[in-house]
């Protein structure tokens, strides 16, 4: 598999999912990028924008196993990871895997569960394993978590800790679809579209889990120029010295930005990264890693404002001085 093959598969997968999910092109692009970069996605948006449909459609196109966890305040870590249950017949403890043992996991409304339960995903997201009763159990590969959270409701929610947020490769703000897209969705419904029966819409299986892993190898071979590395470093360091930012992006953030830029390069059929690739992922890769000063938050400054200011002040390599 070479760069052109990956690019074709990438476009093919997007086109297939687009058949059932209308008006969320950017979201699809980010999710597929996260898949190829081996990261996880946090989607922030109001309910009813097609997040579940998105994951289901991707599971169809990828041929990957899909599970969903609805996070609630009383959800326990074992409800996520699974646990050892005593089997009276066999007179021994038997491991019952939780929903985390899947390839595509939708963690719906992740901020409704307490930090303890949220943290049950930490190891899974970072290491691709879960440790239960001292025994490390590997998760299937590829493993992708797509978590959602509602930005409007704050009562009865538990904000994700910084460590947890940092594990997400991208945080995507989902907006309402455009007028035309929304109209198209309604027309699809009139035509009989049923999101629970995606099979009947002829979604082709473009990728396979092993194929996805091969694509990741191609992504890893993409050339990154010294100037690009410097550019990413400058951006990430600038977030730390921004006056509105209390805690800037971590080194993991820089790595995430690099990984996403590589995927973007491959998706456009290039075997090298250009500054545009970096810039296009600066917002989703960095916004959730910035912790703002309370005064800045009071003044209405958002992390996106800070990222924008940083990009405006950072020189792009090898352009007009």
């Amino acid at each position: 598999m070479n760069v052109q093959d990956v690019s074709e598969h990438y476009r093919g997968a997007l086109s297939e999912v687009n058949k059932v999910l209308v008006g969320q092109d950017e979201l699809l692009d980010y999710v597929l990028t996260a898949m190829l970069a081996g990261g996880h996605v946090l989607i922030e948006g109001v309910p009813g924008l097609g997040k579940t449909l998105l994951v289901r459609a991707f599971s169809h196109v990828l041929g990957a196993a899909f599970k969903r966890i609805q996070f609630t305040p009383d959800l326990m870590p074992s409800d996520v990871t699974g646990g050892n249950v005593f089997n009276q017949k066999e007179d021994r403890f038997v491991f019952v895997p939780g929903p985390v043992f899947t390839e595509l996991l939708l963690a719906d409304e992740i901020n409704r569960a307490p930090a303890k339960t949220q943290s049950a995903l930490l190891e899974a997201m970072q290491e691709g394993t879960v440790t239960i009763d001292g025994q490390i159990r590997p998760l299937p590969s590829p493993f992708l978590v797509i978590a959602t959270q509602n930005p409007v409701e704050s009562h009865g929610t538990y904000p994700l800790p910084e460590a947890q947020l940092d594990r997400f490769l991208l945080k995507v703000d989902v907006k309402h679809p455009s007028f035309d897209a929304e109209k198209q969705i309604l027309q699809n419904r009139i035509a009989g579209f049923d999101p629970n029966q995606l099979e009947q819409y002829g979604l082709r299986r473009i990728l396979t889990p092993p194929g996805l892993l091969s694509m990741r190898q191609v992504v890893a071979s993409v050339r990154v120029d010294e100037g690009i590395v410097e550019y990413i470093t400058k951006i990430v360091r600038a977030t730390r010295s921004h006056r509105s930012v209390y805690l800037g992006a971590s080194t993991r953030g820089a790595i995430a930005l690099l990984a996403c830029a590589r995927v973007r390069a491959v998706s456009e059929g290039r075997d090298f990264v250009i500054p545009d690739d970096v810039k296009s992922f600066a917002f989703p890769a960095l916004r959730h890693r910035l912790l703002l000063h309370p005064e800045a938050e009071l003044e209405g400054v958002s992390p996106d404002d800070c990222v924008e200011a940083v990009l405006r002040e950072t020189s792009v390599p090898k352009t007009v001085a």
Binding site: R223, D225, G227, I228, A238, S241, H242, R243, S244, R270, D271, F272, V273, I274, P275, D276, K279, S280, A296, L298, E299, G300, V301, D305, C306, E308, A309, V310, L311, R312, E313, T314, S315, V316, P317, K318, T319, V320, A321
Partner: protein, 622 residues
């Protein structure tokens, strides 16, 4: 062996001085020494470039075989010897026929150019307006001025100079630098056109988005940028082919404006020149080509005479200043008015010798006895006085009337060269103006005939197409040359270009960016933040604290010990009601001491304004 023509005897009855100043052998020797000079390349150079006028001189090529063999060979090579068999064509195409087309072209281009220019200016001005007012300060600040110190950067911003630099670098095989310069040239071009703003933080994607309104340019830019990115960030090396690929995308865009300016300039010049009379193609008395007149000048100067061109107006001839000339040769493509001819004839009647060798004769009757120039078969030219004298020329002859005309050279039975007395002076009529040109005088005994026609000259003046065109005033000279319109249009073009683009002379420098903000901007930004937060009470509290201190300072010592005393003093100074002052002071003190309490924004602003007015009335702001 040649024989001297007995002109004095033939013209014994006439009042013409006919004593020859030199014999044919002397003339022959002098002519050969003149033509031996290397500057007469038509005599010596085998690859002499023949102009159209020179080709006309091939009619005498047979006569120059011994003195100028190279000219004869050049004529033979061109096959132009037969030119003498047919009438001559006009010298050049008449440009007046094309003047209408040129005018339409010019007006169209001027209109298009003006439209483009006005559009560009309006767009630039509007973009300037859009950028000028900053709506409100952005809350998220940049990492700080200390991180990016202002510095003076020498940057080439002129697209065409960058293009030239790129080509220069490519010639030195520095293709990387060349491609970078091309890319910069393209960006600077777009910036100059107001399509984008170049900034160090912008990527190629940003620029391409800026160019969305012009998809064809955006595509060109993308192609160029893609090639450069392959080199800068990819595995590719900068090569000549890549440079040429980028150049092919960039150059047409950059040179489009230049081409338009060149075309416009061409049209302007063409229009400016169109009404002007066609300038003579030769340099007259100093022209050493086959069709020049320098041999004439040297021959006459060999007679210890002076030859010069008459540059003044014909109406003023012979003028009040200078030496009185005894001979005037009207030669070539001159088109004198009857009045001008009358001036010359009057001068001839006073004792001058007027030699007329023009391409076209004036209307019949203008010159006494001269009707018109004719062309026809006459089996060669013959001296009417001595058959052994060899004369070469075309088959032009003149139709003259009257017994006073004496034929000097005949074309068959018609006069090719004739002369006649005119009161105290004389007239010489030469049918073919080419007779006086270099190649013609080099042929046979033509030079001898000429000197015999103007014996013992002292000052010979030549009137040609440039005569009368000269002026002491340079502005008039400009207008008379027909370049006045072009000059004015060029000035107008430069003015408009200057208004549009400034003066991009010399190495350009970026202006130093002043990153320090005025205190007022900080105050305004702070006020905006307070406004957003609805903190009018807090603001009033801070302002009231400061204002009360100032008021205490400005009332007489001792009177401000108490609150009532302060109010009384202020009322005395300002003429305000003491109760009103007391009320404002009470609100100010309350705001200062209880900034956290809630009040309406309108009330807070009212108190603040009143305090400000009182402060001003108490002694102005400090």
């Amino acid at each position: 062996m040649r024989h001297r023509i007995a002109l004095p005897m033939l013209l014994a009855g006439a009042c013409v001085t006919t004593t020859a100043s030199a014999g044919p052998d002397d003339v022959q020797a002098r002519l050969e020494s003149i033509l031996a000079q290397p500057r007469y390349t038509f005599c010596h150079s085998g690859d002499y470039p023949m102009s159209r006028r020179d080709r006309e001189m091939c009619s005498v090529a047979k006569g120059v075989a011994t003195r100028c063999p190279a000219f004869r060979r050049a004529c033979e090579r061109l096959g132009a010897l037969d030119e003498s068999e047919r009438p001559l064509e006009a010298d050049d195409a008449d440009v007046s026929a094309s003047s209408t087309l040129v005018t339409v072209l010019l007006l169209t281009m001027l209109a298009a150019f003006a439209a483009v220019l006005v559009t560009a200016i309006i767009r630039n001005v509007r973009s300037g307006w859009d950028k000028a007012p900053e709506k409100e300060p952005k809350a998220p600040e940049s990492p700080g001025p200390a991180d990016r110190p202002a510095r003076l950067v020498q940057t080439e911003k002129e697209a065409l100079r960058l293009l030239a630099r790129a080509k220069g670098a490519a010639c030195e095989q520095r293709y990387g630098a060349a491609m970078t310069d091309l890319y910069h040239a393209l960006l600077r071009h777009f910036e100059a056109e107001g399509m984008l703003h170049v900034d160090a933080s912008k990527t190629n994607g940003d620029y391409a988005r800026d160019l969305r309104v012009r998809p064809e340019l955006a595509e060109c830019f993308r192609r160029a940028a893609r090639e450069l990115e392959r080199v800068d960030f990819g595995h590719e090396a900068p090569t000549q082919s890549r440079f040429l690929t980028v150049l092919a995308n960039v150059e047409p865009i950059l040179t489009r404006v230049l081409l338009a300016v060149i075309l416009l300039g061409f049209a302007v010049t063409a229009q400016g020149c169109a009404p002007a009379e066609r300038a003579p193609s030769s340099r007259g008395l100093y022209d050493d080509s086959a069709s020049g007149l320098s041999v004439l000048r040297l021959l006459v100067e060999g007679e210890h005479a002076t030859v010069e061109r008459w540059t003044g107006s014909i109406e003023q001839f012979p003028g009040d200043e200078g030496e009185w000339s005894d001979t005037v040769i009207v030669h070539g493509d001159v088109n004198l008015t009857p009045e001008q001819w009358s001036v010359l004839l009057d001068w001839a009647r006073d004792g001058g010798r007027l030699v007329i060798a023009t391409d076209t004769l004036p209307q019949a009757g203008t010159i006494p006895g001269v009707v018109r120039t004719m062309w026809g078969d006459c089996n060669g030219l013959n001296s009417s006085r001595d058959a052994k004298v060899q004369v070469y020329g075309t088959r032009y002859w003149v139709k003259v009337q009257g017994p006073q005309w004496q034929t000097v050279v005949a074309c068959g039975s018609h006069p090719a060269i004739a002369q006649a007395p005119l009161d105290d002076g004389s007239l010489v009529l030469i049918a073919d103006s080419n007779f006086l040109r270099n190649a013609s005088l080099a042929a046979g005994d033509n030079a001898y005939i000429l000197l015999d026609l103007i014996p013992k000259p002292r000052l010979v003046r030549v009137i040609d197409s440039l005569s009368g065109k000269g002026t002491a005033n340079p502005y008039k000279a400009l207008w008379k040359s027909g370049l006045g319109a072009a000059f004015l249009q060029g000035l107008a073009l430069m003015l408009v270009l200057y208004l549009c683009r400034g003066l991009p002379f010399g190495r350009l420098r970026d202006p130093v960016v002043n990153r320090r903000r005025a205190f007022a901007e900080h105050a305004r930004a702070l006020a905006t933040i307070y406004q957003r937060a609805g903190a009018s009470r807090l603001t009033l509290g801070m302002y009231a604290g400061w204002a009360l201190e100032r008021l205490h300072e400005r009332v007489p010592p001792g009177s401000a010990r108490t609150f009532n005393g302060l109010a009384h003093s202020i009322a005395d100074c300002t003429g305000r009601s003491e109760n009103a002052v007391l009320e404002v002071l009470a609100e100010a003190v309350d705001a200062r001491d209880n900034a956290a309490t809630q009040a309406s924004t309108a009330d807070d602003l009212r108190v603040m304004r009143t305090l400000g007015k009182i402060l001003r009335e108490m002694g102005g702001q400090r």
